[in-house]
Subunit: 339 residues, 3 copies
């Protein structure tokens, strides 16, 4: 273990180009929340709704906007975006386990693989024919990597990740446990009353700096590839169907799903539990709120939603029953044209 981190407020201000307010000699050895921090910890104030906690905080140093610091008696680091500044500061206090270069003796590696000398391959990993593990990549314990895969430089598979076949990851990707990339897309054709499988001959391609959550699944393409751009961030338990395309810098929250051949643009924010039907296009900078279903293409940036509000069950039953009559209700009224 490296020696535990210990910085002065002044050192932190200088290292991250932040303005110092108060006592630069304050020591910071860890991080905490405004409400829960102890002396020696760094906290942050980004959401005004927590401003009231500032008076009581025991944090030695707080990251905040300049205007929040005006009448703050304690020590502060001033940032235009305190949350982003905190994210960078907090990284100093994340003590990540060392993954030494080398291949664990238990690993089962096909002779035709290429593994960089400084890559790490953990216990009980399987790596198949013609796959390549690039410089500094980390393959945690229990991962299965099939044929013709690439794990780009500095990418990490935490543990128990599966890359089935023809999965190519860019640099610095981070895949969490249970993620399955490159499984067969769900391609079926009916033939005389039973299903036959449509061979899934494509692969999966991720750009650089993508993050894939725990138990998320990304199927490989039927003919061409399933493609994620750069800096795509997928939370846990997301399903991405074959031949889907997700643009760079798009983030999707947990349990959302993208059906086959859908295309999502850049800088989109997809809420938790959202569904996107197949073969649709969503343009750049679209926000979809939680548990909405996207049933047609979206061509204008903006925020979109579907669903109904939560109610006590008795009221909900009454109103939901009327939903079944809604068209007849409307027809009782003078014609209403769609705007």
């Amino acid at each position: 273990m490296p020696s535990p981190p210990d910085f002065s407020a002044a050192e932190l201000a200088e290292r991250f180009g932040l303005q110092l307010h108060g006592n630069g000699a304050e020591r910071v050895v860890g991080v905490g929340t405004l409400a829960g921090a102890e002396p020696g910890q760094l906290a942050f104030l980004a959401n005004p709704r927590y401003r009231s906690q500032l008076g009581q905080t025991r944090a030695s140093v707080v990251v905040m906007r300049a205007d929040d610091a005006v009448d703050h008696s304690g020590t502060a680091l001033l940032a235009s975006d305190p949350y982003t500044a905190f994210a960078k500061l907090a990284a100093l206090f994340a003590q990540l386990p060392q993954r030494e270069p080398g291949i664990h003796p238990s690993a089962d590696i096909h002779p035709s693989t290429t593994i960089a000398a400084d890559a790490h391959v953990g216990a009980f990993c399987s790596i198949g024919a013609r796959s390549r593990i690039e410089a500094g990549a980390v393959i945690g314990p229990g991962c299965v990597i099939g044929e013709d895969c690439v794990v780009g430089a500095g990418s990490e598979l935490i543990a128990r990740v599966t890359l089935v076949t023809r999965v190519r990851l860019g640099a610095r990707c981070l895949l969490h446990p249970g993620a399955v990339l490159g499984a067969d897309g769900f391609g079926l054709a009916m033939d005389g009353g039973h299903w036959i499988k449509v061979p899934q001959l494509g692969g999966v391609v991720l750009g650089n700096d993508c993050e894939i959550g725990a138990n998320t699944t990304i199927d490989r393409g039927a003919i061409e590839d399933t493609v994620l751009g750069d800096d795509v961030r997928l939370d846990n338990q997301i399903q991405v169907g074959h031949n889907a395309r997700i643009g760079s810098h798009t983030a999707m929250a947990g349990c959302s799903a993208v059906a086959g051949s859908a295309r999502i643009g850049n800088y989109c924010l997809i809420g938790g539990g959202v569904g996107v039907l197949g073969h649709l296009e969503i343009c750049d900078r679209v926000v979809i709120t939680a548990m909405s279903l996207v049933t047609s293409s979206i061509r204008e940036p903006g925020e979109y939603s579907s669903g109904t509000p939560l109610m006590d069950n008795r009221s909900w039953r009454r109103n939901a029953a009327r939903f079944k009559q809604l068209d007849r209700i409307a027809r009782r009224l003078p014609a209403i044209r769609d705007e």
Copy 2:
């Protein structure tokens, strides 16, 4: 294998403090459903809707309420709550595989771990630095346990469970295959057009007697911990975001999701596919029906719902189209105030 279970109705009545109706000498060697049981099997009648099956059942003994037994000619065990009584009785007939104390020779264990002498660690398990496996715990095959984790006394990880880091389980917890606890929470900050990761420095803490379903994911906290109380029961494929808190005795059905920093009270029942947005509070004894979305805090116990009823697709299309006009429809009418 132990000798197969074989009890008389009288023995079962005495062991579980139930009143015997009929022939105490009836033998019971297994369990069945009212409709499907064979002689020698124990069945139960809890739901009145199955009462009609009582006449035809071939079960040797049936657990039921006293009033259901009045004109029942067969042998019965009388319980105020037949389902709970059956749950206890059936446990006698569950022949669970033995997991002998000891560490499988293939397991990869960091020298700094502490493993109780009577714990079981199965094949192809990895256990990281400073983790502790307490008395009688069972770690099934293919589990990965990272750094600084605790598996409490008598807890069992069935197989292929991952505890990423700083995951602390109480006593008698049961984790099903594919569960991932302690993966990074989904914390991102935008910095000059690309995402940077907010370090996830907290852990996951479970109380005693929790059950976590197959492929369920519980992320670790950003600064403080993600916390489940005692006797929390999570079904399969549930997602729990970082810093969420779930109260004791709360049960959640499959595919539900709790976003970051949400707090759910004690004795709540969360239906399948339900979504709970981040930073909300749900008080004790709240029931949420299946596939509802909770978008604001709930302060009163009771049952809550959202969504619309299922209809044939043609009717649904007509009504759903009118939903887009609902505000204009309402404005045609004399003002309707929220009650």
Copy 3:
């Protein structure tokens, strides 16, 4: 690796009983999309919406309907169902990895198992007492198979699949990574303020030719079995509760969920993210559109839906607020009777 596939259009026409249009000497060495194919590749035209791409395609041979070929100058294979024909043709170009018969030396196999001489068991697999792996079955790396399981002839577990206990697969089933079959059903009874577990004494039975997607979970039954018929096709991240029954040839899209004891008929198509409540029956040939919730039994074949359309968030908020008033709105109008 076998020699790469190379066929003439005439050979393909003959092998699959398709009518040849144009030059039977055209060589086909792979497949592509109409838009993306290169010379030497086979493409298909099934969806009329892509008909315009036919003029520009560089594919050497295209599978299409006879009427689409009338004024097509290139080479074509004529099929009444081009998609199904393509599925069969494309299989010729799928170069699947060889899985040699035999048991990997690292595998941990209970002495009481039965493993066919020509079956394949990969690295880091665990197989428990009394389980049977039949002729030609393939168990990929990192699978865990518990007690009393059967993997039928020619079935394949790609990698990291778990069969917990009493799981019996028919012939030619295909299970994708992360799938968990036979975990405890979610059976709980309240006893004096805390939950007790209802023992899950049943198993899981799959017919022949079933496909189970990545990270899909199918719980074992409480007393009797959870049962899937023949040719059932489940996409990724589907949850099937204990004692559910799914009829033959039914296909379910990703992230759908079937609660305990529900029965789904034959030839049903269940959309992505659909929920089916427990103890319901759905008859044969029912289609449920994406993210609908089935709250009562369905006795008539046809297409069913629930939910509301996607709107810009501002309009949605206005309309959703009115949903809370819907019953009062309706009561302002002359009585509307359900049709």
